[in-house]
Symmetry: C2
Subunit: 226 residues, 2 copies
């Protein structure tokens, strides 16, 4: 579903240049749940953004369901993302002025679909936020905001879900509810999930763990257990 | 150092009212390291903000080094915070337009002191960010931003440090470096630390863990181990 070939990403220029990705090759098959782990600053968020078409690599290729993202214009890339990708940002990126319900419904509207109240409420209930839909992000706790971001990424039933540390702000039990939901989406609905995480317990829900160190792939673990 | 007496906090009114704290009594002695744990939405951030004078309870009393915070005006509260408190926010709250160095130096300036380049760079190095001081928050990873927020809270050597999930965005090793630093500040400098965390490993660095459930104190653990 997702393939990266020798992807490089450099920020800044000359003396100020920072190499975030230093030649990463990674394959993610459809219907699998892959975790990406590595030290702070090792390039995980950058990797996820390049894989999801939210950022362009400095070099190398990214394929999403066989489509070479470099051949797409910005508009085509935007449409592809809206149709097929869900993204949970490390800092949530919720719209402050909109309620949780409207934040969750937004990707449906952007994809040209008409949100049904039922589907928005169902996904909020699935992350334990039933009854909080009318609240705006500032009126919710950190872990509640994170769960709104997760619900928003899931509501379009995307082919590929990219999740950047989706349980970072959650206590153990709430985190496990979310991970169980993600596992179910893979096992039952055949969804593909790429999840960055620092938490070995979260990684244990995945089929495979890819390690990133200093912007390079540094080994793998199949069928991880905590 | 910090005492809360039957503190209540209600957000909103009438039908929309949400009780974030439902009568919390908690004592934190000087020179101790206390962790606060509990489910997402249980009131931990609210508790920390009331204890640090960043928010006013709906009822109950908060004492900081014997001073009843309700007797202080907004200006007096602000000065007290600048003199004696460091706060690491759950969402960092860095100033986007300022470099990491300037973000870290800001509390010194607000406290009327003149920041020395050495002290700003030392604290950035202590959290593993030597050489990244010139970068702005948007040019740093999630875990790096969190560490800038930690450095900023420590630079004034506050009497009491309040930290809201300070290792949430950090990998295990970086998190341990930060926790070791916090432990040292308590053991060597006699600092008082109140840390909200979801991570049992982080909690194991504390002298004591206080549990919060549905806005109420729900038990304690002395000398926790992971
Ligand atoms: N302005 C507000 N209006 C309404 N409810 C609010 C507001 N601010 C916070 N709350 C609610 O108060 C409760 C406690 O929030 P708080 O942020 O203290 O939780 P928390 O324990 O820090 O959670 P987390 O672990 O997810 O960060 C939550 O149910 C939250 O939704
Ligand atoms: N705009 C930028 N300019 C300069 N450097 C940048 C920029 N954006 C990211 N970086 C750097 O690229 C590297 C990789 O960043 P990235 O956000 O991918 O790390 P990460 O693995 O997600 O870290 P974390 O676990 O802390 O979230 C880091 O060293 C970061 O500081
Ligand atoms: Mg990241
Ligand atoms: Mg919180």
């Amino acid at each position: 579903a997702v393939a990266l070939r020798d992807v490089r990403k450099v920020y800044g220029r000359r003396a100020a240049a920072v190499t975030a990705l230093d030649g990463v090759t990674l394959d993610i098959d459809r219907g699998t749940f892959v975790a990406v782990m590595g030290p702070s600053g090792s390039g995980k968020s950058t990797l996820l953004q390049c894989a999801a078409g939210l950022d362009r690599p400095s070099a190398g290729e990214v394929f999403l369901d066989g489509v070479d993202l470099r051949r797409l214009s910005e508009n085509e890339l935007t449409m592809l993302r809206r149709e097929r990708i869900g993204f949970v940002f490390q800092s949530f990126n919720l719209v402050p002025a909109l309620s949780a319900e409207l934040n969750v419904a937004l990707p449906l509207r952007l994809a040209g679909r008409r949100p049904r109240r039922r589907e928005v409420r169902d996904v909020l209930a699935a992350v334990g936020l039933a009854g909080r839909g009318r609240h705006r992000p500032a009126e919710l706790s950190g872990g509640q905001q994170q769960r709104v971001a997760i619900a928003r990424a899931l509501v379009t039933r995307p082919a590929v879900l990219f999740a950047d540390e989706p349980t970072g702000a959650l206590d153990t039990r709430t985190g496990r509810d979310v991970l169980t939901l993600l596992r179910e989406l893979v096992d039952v609905d055949g969804q593909t999930i790429v999840m960055v995480t620092h938490d070995p317990v979260a990684a244990s829900y995945a089929d495979r763990v890819a390690f990133l160190v200093d912007g390079r792939a540094a080994g793998e673990l199949l069928d991880p257990d905590p």
